[in-house]
Assembly symmetry: C2
């Protein structure tokens, strides 16, 4: 058996979400070797969740037929405010965490270097480096799920700003007189086009007496409604759902246009559960609306697309960060 | 007399606008030595305007008691789309220019290196380097005059994006159902809070029969209305003008909040004719509104202020660019 240095190196990319933990194991070429997934069980508290992250990494290594001593580094994305320098999760409402040093906790348990990033940033790194081979100099990542978040690659590097919170595009106001947002303001992009916003709009329409086949499928309270249910309804010619999804796509297009006017990236990549479930319905409207909002000269050569990494953008980004820890 | 290399070096910073040309002469410490200003006379065509730029530089050198052979380099800002690499002004509606290589034209006439930038970018460079001594790593400059433009310093450098058009913050939609904008869309920041927008709102209010002392001063058509007239009216307790200016400040605050959420800069600096004329009326509202729109965690240590360079930000930025040409 060779020394540790001569053995092939493997890296773990972890996506720690409010409901599930996913881990991918990558080789030095960032090929995905193995994968594991489990529920987060955030209600059990930080200690228990961190132990589950460790278990998820161990499962993914086992799934990859590798020993834990073959793992060189870990990159992990967490939802909320993260200080990548200290590795501290400052504030993560979906986990119920405040000031948890995820880096130190994991390094103590696993004895290898750990890099922590915000979930949207890590997904953007994954999209930039894996899907687009690090080529775009300026890329805006937009993730539409329960909420809306973003990540920015500017001049070839992740841009995170003064407090490392840059990319909070979900709280860009695009309709000053629009609906109330969880943040306390009105008409934020997130309050108009997130899954939460779409579901609220649908429930309110049903209460007003508007018709949708989803009530036949799920009952009057639309219990268990999911993004894919919206797609199903549209494909069965549900006019209400179709018009709400179109409207969300229109707002998203305006937000994309705003971001292109402000940042003039060469690439805007959309992802997240809503885009994944409703790509065919939404992407053409998003592109068309954005194009009509881009100033002349600004849009030249600018591409608007959706990520092909789907739910895996985060673990790929984690793999990239882990690999950087060792390469540096 | 010493050789050229041992003589002190001087730099010209030029602000080429639609109505006036301003030139500042700077020493190596970026101290303003002398100044000249003349009208642009854009209607005479690019050739005539470029000759006027040369004359303005000559006047400013003469004003500074310097000979033209003591000038080492020129930095010039032009309104519109500029390609700094080639020095080409791609499109400048206020000048009526399309595809004019300002760099080559000036270098041929003056035989010293010339650097060309967009006017908002060059002002932001001036604010960043002169007023804030290059210290802020992330700075957003917002200029509110006839239109609204912006400039971004991110990670310590001017950020200009894929087509070098980044910073078109005036066309960020913040009210999807708002008034029509010159760009063809609705509710752009510029359509809500620029001088043009304010004057339009005021003229429409007068047409609807609302009262303002400005009609006593300027007649029913409000001919010759200027930004300072608005301030004068407010100080004479003009309720209509006050409410319109407050509203513009509120929209500006929302735009500032959006930009802080997206970019998380440490400093937002406002300038331009409207801010200069109405700073006391607008800045407190802008700050308060922005603060109420910034996500928690994002606003920590973020400052919102106005430039003290006033109309001179552009010439200072030109001086910075000129000095870089020689130092590199």
């Amino acid at each position: 058996m060779g020394s540790a240095a001569s053995k092939p190196a493997y890296y773990a990319g972890v996506d720690l979400g409010g409901t599930k933990i996913m881990t991918g194991i990558f080789d030095a070429d960032l090929e995905l070797i193995g994968f594991a997934k489990m529920t987060t069980k955030a209600h059990r508290g930080p200690e228990a969740v961190i132990n589950r992250v460790v278990r998820c990494i161990e499962d993914a290594m086992d799934e990859s037929d590798l020993q834990m001593n073959q793992l060189r580094a870990i990159g992990i994305g967490a939802p909320g405010g993260v200080d990548p320098q200290s590795g501290r999760v400052i504030f993560a409402p979906n986990l119920g965490w405040k000031n948890i040093n995820l880096k130190i906790e994991l390094e103590e348990r696993l004895k290898i270097p750990v890099s922590v990033e915000n979930d949207c940033n890590i997904s953007t790194i994954g999209v930039h480096e894996k899907e687009f081979e690090g080529k775009p100099r300026h890329l805006v990542g937009i993730y539409i799920g329960t909420g809306i978040g973003g990540g920015l690659v500017l001049d070839g590097h992740l841009y995170s700003g003064h407090n490392r919170t840059a990319g909070e595009i979900g709280h860009m106001v695009i309709d000053v007189n629009g609906p109330a947002c969880g943040c306390g303001n009105r008409g934020c992009f997130e309050a108009l086009a997130s899954r939460t916003a779409l579901f609220n709009q649908l429930r309110e329409a049903v209460k007003r007496g508007e018709k949708t086949i989803l009530t036949d499928m799920l009952g009057p309270e639309l219990e268990g409604l999911r993004s894919r249910g919206l797609r199903k309804a549209i494909r069965q010619n549900d006019k209400l759902v179709e018009s709400l999804v179109r409207q969300a796509a229109h707002y998203t297009g305006i937000a994309v246009g705003n971001l292109i006017n402000i940042l003039n990236p060469e690439l805007v990549v959309l992802g997240g559960g809503i885009i994944e479930a409703l790509d065919e319905e939404m992407m053409p409207i998003i592109s068309k609306t954005a194009q009509s909002h881009i100033l002349s000269g600004t849009g030249k050569g600018v591409e608007i697309t959706q990520t092909q990494l789907a739910d895996n953008a985060g673990i790929f980004g984690g793999g990239v960060l882990a690999r950087r820890l060792v390469k540096v």
